[in-house]
Subunit: 217 residues, 2 copies
């Protein structure tokens, strides 16, 4: 059985983890402590088919790790998990550098946007990992079932390693994403992370979070 690790016990981590279990993957969810109540409750809700552990346990679990942590803690989580533990691993980075310090809707953290991105910062922190930015432009239910948007939107992948992007595209296909565009290296994550402001305005004006963006071309 293929094994995938999940960093983060929030709604994104739980939704991705549950979907992966449904798809037949062996899943380990990591948090700051091995006894995190949210992670254990989630594993129980999934019939105890899921495993839980620390961030480091997840880093050493197998070859693919989903980063489902909030952008504000992402870099710290990777440090806690142990930089070297990610050598040779594929990191599916869903995080967004949202900055709520100025109220709602959030802005993007200035140091991680425009001429930089959180995806690039993760890659810099983990130089021997293969970081692939994707899925960060839709809500978590649409992430794991693209058609919940009401159709099949486009999904982007950004990353430096072609094999890693191909492996990620296989998982995206299992999530229902059939229109996938490879934008290029990890610096192209600047483009996808900067879609969060339009996502937020559409959500605020329609009060509907079940949507996605199709590139008509």
């Amino acid at each position: 059985m293929k094994k995938i690790g999940i960093l983060g016990t929030g709604i994104v981590g739980k939704t991705i983890g549950s979907k992966l279990i449904q798809l037949g993957y062996e899943v380990k969810m990591g948090s700051r402590t091995a006894t995190n109540e949210k992670a254990i409750a989630w594993a129980k809700a999934n019939g105890n088919k899921a495993l839980t552990g620390t961030f480091a346990d997840v880093a050493t679990f197998d070859e693919i790790v989903f980063n489902c942590t909030k952008g504000e803690v992402t870099l710290e989580v990777f440090k806690q998990a142990g930089i070297e533990n990610f050598d040779g691993k594929t990191i599916i980075d869903i995080s967004n550098p949202l900055d709520f310090s100025q109220g709602m809707p959030p802005i993007l953290a200035p140091q991680y946007s425009n001429s930089n991105s959180l995806g690039e910062e993760v890659q810099k922190l983990l130089p021997n990992a293969y970081v692939v930015k994707t899925l960060n432009i839709v809500n978590c239910e649409v992430m794991v079932e693209a058609t919940k948007s009401g159709g099949v939107p486009t999904m982007f992948v950004c990353g430096n390693n072609a094999d890693a992007k191909e492996a990620v595209q296989g998982i995206l296909n299992q999530f229902g994403w059939t229109d996938i565009m490879d934008l290029g290296d990890i610096s192209t994550a600047r483009g996808t992370e900067m879609m969060l402001p339009i996502w937020l305005r559409i959500y605020l004006s329609t009060q509907n979070g079940y949507f996605g963006f199709k590139v008509i071309r």
Copy 2:
């Protein structure tokens, strides 16, 4: 005949102006001087059905003005045209705050993005005008003929005045935009201007500028 003014003599201004003439509008194109060669050549190419003049001539021409200037000069152009000349006018603002100082692809000017937008700055500069941000997320040929993208993408409108947005939507319909989303007040232009980075990455990875974004919902 309905009259529309155009600020800017670049490819965007010429494309919008020519389309408006085809649609039967009387069009005046404005530039820094009344004898701008590019504007006069464009008018001649349109069978001299178009008028040309200064920015101020365009501001006082009639009720609707397209801002087709480059973002880096937009605010200066409005000042040159005379702030009060825009009182009560509808400004269709297509400009983007692109900053080429760090090379290609451009970033967004930090002072006009993220927690601000160029659309908001135009509205602040022209407090008695009705600024509507739209069309800035596609290339100029797609702007005036939505189906040149290969389908019918979504177009956003952002602005404080409902009547102005309705008037603009009428023109957008004439350009082939049948799926229009009103995002709210002019501050929502932050969302649409921040789509330029993903536009640029899609263009750079596909070498195709004829595309648009459909909100699947």
